[in-house]
Structure formats: structure tokens, C-alpha cells
Assembly symmetry: C2
Homo-oligomer: 235 residues x 2
Amino acid sequence: MESTANGARTPRRRRAQGLSREVILDACLRLAAETAPDALSFRKIGKELGADPTALYRHFADKDDLLLSLADRVLARGMEGYAPSVSWVASLRDLMLRARAGFLEYPQVATLAALRVTRQEGELQFVEAMLAALHRAGFKGKDAARIHRACADFMLSWTGFSAGLLLLGEKSSQDDRAWVESYAGISVGDYPLAVASVSAMAEIPDDENYTFALELLLAGIAARLGVESLTEMNT
Amino acid sequence: MESTANGARTPRRRRAQGLSREVILDACLRLAAETAPDALSFRKIGKELGADPTALYRHFADKDDLLLSLADRVLARGMEGYAPSVSWVASLRDLMLRARAGFLEYPQVATLAALRVTRQEGELQFVEAMLAALHRAGFKGKDAARIHRACADFMLSWTGFSAGLLLLGEKSSQDDRAWVESYAGISVGDYPLAVASVSAMAEIPDDENYTFALELLLAGIAARLGVESLTEMNT
DNA sequence: ACCTGAACACCGTTCAAGT
DNA sequence: ACCTGAACACCGTTCAAGT
């Protein structure tokens, strides 16, 4: 990669020299950008680096360790360019959308690490920005902590879900077939509402669904504000 | 299991005779009730049945096929005893809680199948009950479909998340250690709010967190009702 | 018709050995 | 100090063979 001056055609393994956490993480992100289901195995990372797969154990305790660092990098990347808005709702919405979008650029990382807490720089940036927005709204202390946790885990769980759907890929289409087939064996008359709406529901893309649920959540938070302070109401 | 009359001490493998989808699914649920991380492999299911692991392929196309049937059974089990309330909010809340609780009795199934659509009996029961509650609230057609999808995927994604946490088990405790350790290397002064609330947030158990987020979501839906019909308002 | 068992192409991880 | 490579205990799945 550095100098392709001489014999550029032999695709044999580069010598693995100067591995480091940074170098390894970069290679992982290169692999994780793809939507292939198992792109992040040690063996594939090793090949990408031209190193023996087990060399990674010199720099990371185990796969979990690697994954947490990877997840934090991805979150931090999603936070790049974030600027708080004057509106706290707009800030919350922005954060909840950009964090998810950041993760979904690396679906592998999202599925594998969505339920882990990284406790590294990127996560702290996200938490601090969320809490700042909630403070501006008037939520403090324990109340702010509860709402932040609800929002963060809403985002993380749904992001893991979405990443899983992306990685399933073509299998989702198989699902559509199964849908039609499996209806044959079931007494459809018992489920009139479900049968009537089934295609309308299937049409909704996951992104739109997340956005819509997020708006419901934000409305719920806003409504809570009304209850708390009783000074201002928003429809 | 059927008759322990003679030689009950030899734990050698029962002969595998009369395997069927039903028999296999029962064995799977027995295994999946545990919190062991990899309890649902074909090899372990085979051992539980006293059959060769590959015998399962005679009854299920692949692991995915098995998982979908398993997931639908678990959902159906969660729906047992459901009775719609006069209050549509109470009905929605009940459905969103019982579906998750049903899945979490079989964490293996929940992690592996949360993002799949089963299109079998249990799922239809759930969808029908949700739509019925939404209709009673006054949501119809496309609007009901959108809200149902938001609710269902909120529940499914969070349930997959929760099941993952359960399966992580002791690793969560490791996280707590990591939390303290990793704070050493970071300039804490840059994240005052995050640092101040970190322990308050960590204390919130996942169940409570889900319940709280669910209330926010329900409040958001109720608020939307106000916008729609303009006839009745609820704080 | 149904079950078995060897085999294939994968996993994460450990450990003695090389340099 | 860092990387290698054989090995271990696992995966899901295929396929020829048994009964």
C-alpha cells in the first residue's frame, strides 16, 4: 500500500511489520464497511493486514476488546460536525439520527457492539451532548439521567436491529415469499385487521419507521416536560 | 422421559425414533430456557434428543427455519391469557410488556430471531391485538399501520437488546470495572455532565428502562391522537 | 422414509516456537 | 518484543451410506 514501486502484481501477503491498535482498527473499519455477513473474523482481519490472525492478540485482549474500541471509533465518527441547536428537541433528534447513521455505515460493528458500553471518548461525547440538550429543556439530575438512558438504549437497540436487517440482506426477500406461502395454512378469517394491513406495514422502510418512532418518543418527552414544569405546553 | 420403569441410571443416548417438528421444538425450548450463551447449536439439540445433529435437517430446511418456528411459539406463549382492556393504552402497554416478557424467558430465541418476521400464528395474534387496540383509540388504516410497526419494532429491537444483555451475563460486571479504569486516560473535565450522571445512569436496570421508554412512546402516541381528532386531549 | 457419520469450510483462542 | 503456525474445541451444512 505504501510503495507500489517494484513488482506490483504478486498479490502475496505483505509482511506484517509495525502492527498497532491504530493500524488494526483501520483495517477493521475497511472490512466492516462492507455488508458481507462475517467480514470481521480474525482470519479475515489477518489477511487484510498481511499478518497471521493470531498476531492481533498481541494488541487486543480478545475480540470483545477489539469490538469496543471499534464501536467507540464509529460513534465518534458519527459525532463529527455535531453542533448543538438552540432547540433542545432539534438537538436530541440530531443526536439520535447521527449516532445511528454512524453505526450503520459499519453494520458489522453495529450488530456486534450495539449492546456494549464502550466508556471511551466517542461515547462520552455523545452522552455529554445528550445531557446538555436535556438540561436546556429543563430536565435535571435523576430525571435527565432516566430520559437519557431511555433515549440512548432506544437508539442502540434499534440500531443493532437495523444493522441486523442490513446484514440479512437477500434473506429479507425470502421472507416476503414466506409471507405469502405461510398464509395458506392459517385461518385468515381470525385475523381480519392483520391481514388487511399486512402489505401496508411491509411497505414501510426501516429508516422511516425509526424516524417515526423517534418522533413519538420525542413527543412523549415533550409531554412530560408539560407535566413537570406546568409553565409551557406544546401540542 | 416417558417411562422410567426399567434401568433408569444409564445416561446413554436414547434412540432417536419418531423425531418430528413438535418433538424438536420442545427440546429446543428446554435448552433455550437456560442462559448459557450457545445452548442452541445443532450438536447440542441433537444430544438433547439423543439423535445425530444432522437428523434435524430431515425436519427443518436450515437453522433459520427452526428459529422462526421457535420464535413464533415463544410469542404465542407470551400471548396466552391476553384479554383486551377497555382502555386502549392499557391494552397496548400490556401487549408490549407481555411479548417482551415471553421472549425473555428464552433469551437464545430472542437474540437470534428478534429481527425476523415469523408470519405464523403467534405473530398474527399479536398484530391483530395491537391493531384492535389502535382501532379502539381511533387510529385507522395507514395511520394504524405506521403506529403498529413503530411499536412492534420498538418492542422487538429492545427485546433483542435485553436478551443480549442477559446472555452477556458476567461480562456486564467486567464492564463496570472497565468503566472505572478507562476514565483514567480521558480528560474528564471536558465531560462534566456525563461524569456527574454516570453512576445514576448505570444504576437503572434494563427492565425499568424499557418500561420508562415505553411510557414515553405511549405518551407520544396519545399526543398524536390529540393532534388528529382535536376532540379529546390527555395530558 | 428416516437416521447416521464422515467430511468441509468455517469460528475464537492458546501456546510453544521462531526471529 | 513481536509474529508465526499448529492445535483445540467449537460452528452450520452436505452427502453418501446405512437400516
